[in-house]
Symmetry: D2
Subunit: 148 residues, 4 copies
């Protein structure tokens, strides 16, 4: 699996008085998308934690092109765009109501860490299963990269 689509509905709680989804909530959706991406690969993130492996966020970015609001159906198109010795980068496109043009694009970088939050090596089993891909920021069609 190179690309994973996570779907969620915008909750009332996630809107603000501008009438649109509050910007920080996109990062919460990204997190939910990562969880389901891992599950589809066969990894339950909470199992990582039981083994003392954590994935704190080192960097987060989002660009907002169009707003979303309450009850919109949100698709977070998710890929892993980079893996290093102890870090992983996810890229995201946010689609609204099955539209074809992203309303937002973003990425997060995570560092595999022990309980002390010091960097550790990414588990080999995970590394062997993740397939890298990249997303075109202007299209909803993901562009595959050559295999790692």
């Amino acid at each position: 699996m190179k690309i994973f689509d996570y779907e969620t509905r915008v909750r009332y709680a996630e809107t603000d008085r501008m009438g649109i989804s509050y910007y920080a909530n996109y990062f919460v959706w990204f997190e939910a998308a990562r969880t389901e991406y891992f599950r589809t690969l066969g990894f339950v993130y909470s199992e990582f934690e039981k083994e003392g492996i954590f994935l704190p966020v080192a960097e987060a970015h989002c660009r907002y092109m169009e707003p979303s609001s309450y009850d919109d159906l949100i698709t977070v198109r998710t890929v892993v765009s980079q893996i290093r010795q102890s870090s992983i980068r996810f890229d995201y496109q946010v689609l609204k109501n099955h539209g074809t043009k992203p309303i937002a694009v973003g990425y997060t970088v995570h560092v595999f860490s022990g309980q002390n939050l010091k960097p550790t090596r990414i588990p080999e089993i995970l590394k062997s299963k993740v397939e890298l891909a990249s997303l075109d920021p202007n299209l909803s069609n993901p562009v595959d990269t050559k295999p790692r």
Copy 2:
């Protein structure tokens, strides 16, 4: 100290598209008020946790009379209204922009617990410092109760 006033400003994040503060956020303000209540008594709640004492919420209630919104100055008037062997109850009045009539009233009940979340006895030192009080739901003036 019988009564403690915690002040905070409504954040944009805490509003919803009805233009008012989202209802669940009042419980977040209650939590911040409890933290400061304890600090004023001389207890840092995070120190409790270092000693393996947790205060999970067993019950939470709020009645909303008037809305609040972005940038309103919120006062959470906070008292402890009941202490039992292993539980504590806080009552709250929410005032807006130094108004005298509460816009919301609520309470939370907490169980002193070990790391396993099983009930434990309330620390004596805390019990000895807390003074019980009650709040009139219709007035902002707290009504003192007889000493415990």
Copy 3:
């Protein structure tokens, strides 16, 4: 339809450093459950708002019996337990990972309101479609009430 089950997964964002779901988030799940309850009845809540009908919360309550945490599958069993001229009350049971014993129970009361947040009458079409029910706080099996 008397009873509606809404399912969601606990997000990492919804946990706190006690390792469990933060108490205020149960009210967010209640809100998401209400939205889907209405949709299943044939009402899209955002359509109410377009017609100038809002449903601010007048009262909210939750009792927490067992904790939940990250990635738990949450079922919010939802019924309407009372309808008055301009108010509606929802009751909720929270189940975890398809367990049969609720880990939390709660309710919310809402007032049908115009844009000015003044009470208005509940739309007849809605009143005619909602079937009242009640939930046993100790069992996951809902107990039907006699028809309104």
Copy 4:
């Protein structure tokens, strides 16, 4: 005023089960810092909205170097680093417990917009009062830029 320091305490609600502040909440603190930055300049952001001027977020970024957690005292050092015809960019340094090394740095870009969320020109009065500055990502001491 070139630099503004906003202070807040990490709420329990803002932590996650890794024991640290959840990453998306830094963006909420940034928002609260912007509000107070404007207020100190003499602008109440809610007044902008009454005149139909909104400031939706076009871009948001944060880099996390060290974690923070419950009850930490957070300082968000805030500057405006760029103003264009209809956009404004804020840069932020996050300090913990009055430390001198930022634990996180970030920025947000906002587009002055009408109620329809279409771009509009930045109000001249605001433009005339904001003084640009920049922040060194590695130091807590801000580095002033030449005047706009």
